[in-house]
């Protein structure tokens, strides 16, 4: 019975792989060669990402960040909320144990040796600097809010491993991390209205998530100052707020994952009886 099921699963997978391989090759046994031209949509994005002669340009040299926060900004806002929902789901599953556990007063002692702790303190600064650099140069080089936030989130993980989870919870509790994460999300939501608010004060019209000049709407956030200092309109603001939000979201999840197991089980089983 069991071996028959395994054989069936294997056969299914082989069929899936063969069908996918044929679909990918498309021409039977011919080699797959990358095409010389990109799609028309990609050409439009590449043409308008930093082009002062068209009136729908994002005026940001990095096309990927321009797509993420300008062309498809609303998409990204909701996608950030998906991550927020994952965090809320994990908080619900923990049934408030995180708060109860740390009120009961646990010691900060423990962790690895003094050498490891000292090196961790030095490396923390470097990790945060690299993360901030990735995030704040997001409109110039590959990178952006998500990558920078995920890089910064490595720092609390190392803190938890080398010190203890109590050490980090004394400084940032789960509640505070989720609060700061929501604040980051709020800044993103507010900055999508900046141009609209300015336009309304001046008596004109503008769109939500407007960054640069659009048809019928001459308002914009300056894209570069002087000759070469690029700030990328609202992209810089979005990237900074997103870094904040992603980093604190991961801090909350990491604390939840590393809660001590025995005390956790004790509190959960007591509350069920």
């Amino acid at each position: 019975m069991k071996s028959r099921m395994h054989a069936a699963i294997l056969a299914t997978i082989i069929i899936i792989v063969v069908v996918l391989a044929m679909a990918f090759a498309l021409k039977g046994i011919a080699l797959y060669i990358p095409p010389r031209n990109v799609r028309t949509l990609a050409e439009i994005f590449l043409n308008t990402t930093f082009n002062q002669w068209v009136n729908i340009s994002a005026m940001a040299p990095e096309a990927v960040t321009a797509i993420v926060w300008d062309y498809r900004g609303l998409d990204t806002l909701f996608e950030t909320s998906v991550m927020f929902i994952a965090i809320v789901g994990a908080l619900t599953l923990s049934r408030g144990v995180g708060e109860k556990l740390f009120i009961s007063g646990a010691s900060e002692a423990g962790g690895l040796s003094v050498i490891v702790k000292t090196i961790t303190r030095i490396i923390l600064v470097m990790i945060s600097a690299v993360g901030a650099s990735i995030a704040l140069h997001g409109h110039l080089t590959p990178g952006g809010g998500f990558q920078g936030g995920a890089t910064i989130a490595v720092a609390p993980m190392i803190l938890i491993v080398t010190f203890s989870v109590y050490f980090i919870v004394k400084r940032i509790s789960i509640k505070k991390a989720v609060l700061l994460r929501s604040a980051g999300l709020g800044v993103i939501a507010l900055s999508s209205f900046i141009v609209l608010i300015v336009a309304l004060f001046k008596g004109g019209i503008a769109y939500i998530f407007q960054n640069q000049v659009k048809m019928f709407s001459p308002y914009s956030v300056p894209s570069y100052i002087g000759d070469s200092l690029v700030i990328g309109g609202t992209l810089l603001l979005f990237n900074a707020a997103e870094t904040f939000a992603v980093a604190f979201g991961f801090i909350a999840l990491l604390i939840l994952i590393t809660l001590p197991e025995e005390q956790f089980r004790k509190i959960i089983l007591e509350s069920e009886e």
């Binding site: 699963i9 997978i13 082989i14 899936i16 792989v17 996918l20 391989a21 990918f24 080699l31 797959y32 060669i33 990358p34 095409p35 010389r36 990109v38 799609r39 949509l41 990609a42 050409e43 994005f45 590449l46 043409n47 990402t49 930093f50 082009n51 002062q52 002669w53 040299p61 990095e62 096309a63 990927v64 321009a66 797509i67 993420v68 498809r72 998409d75 996608e79 991550m83 994952a86 994990a90 599953l93 923990s94 110039l140 080089t141 952006g144 998500f146 990558q147 995920a150 570069y224 690029v230 992603v246 979201g249 991961f250 999840l253 990491l254 939840l256 994952i257 197991e261 089980r265 959960i268």
Partner: protein, 131 residues
């Protein structure tokens, strides 16, 4: 030039084989931790394939979708359009990676929670639990 194409196709076939491997892991391994590991392999392979769709052939080599000269003149933009790879799959994969990371952290938390309370991550034992 031909050998490059052969190597490129070997890479594509390796990706497809990777999908099969990951699906095998998700379907047949009883441990939830191993299922999650296989799931991460699956999502990373799919992400790489999506990035591969945006790849293009250009002489001498394709460039990342970033304009270097600021502000660009018209010739710069024309060369950029002829050489840069498709930025849209990269943007979609970027968001997919972050969502994947959050969902996988959630799944790991779920698994740890199951282990903390019931002391097992074996799906055959979890299926028989009452409560």
């Amino acid at each position: 030039m031909e050998i490059i194409y052969v190597l490129f196709n070997i890479a594509v076939l390796a990706l497809i084989a990777n999908i099969g491997l990951a699906l095998y892991g998700v379907f047949t391994r009883p441990s939830l931790v191993k299922k999650i590991i296989a799931l991460t392999i699956f999502s990373d392979t799919i992400n790489l394939m999506v990035v591969l769709i945006g790849f293009r052939h250009a002489e001498p080599n394709p460039v990342p979708p970033i304009l270097i000269s600021i502000p660009p003149i018209k010739e710069d933009i024309i060369t950029f359009m002829q050489k840069a790879v498709d930025p849209l799959p990269q943007a979609l994969v970027l968001t997919a990676i972050v969502i994947g990371l959050a969902v996988i952290l959630y799944l790991i938390f779920l698994t740890i929670q199951i282990y903390r309370i019931y002391g097992t991550t074996d799906v055959r034992k979890i299926a028989k639990l009452k409560g």
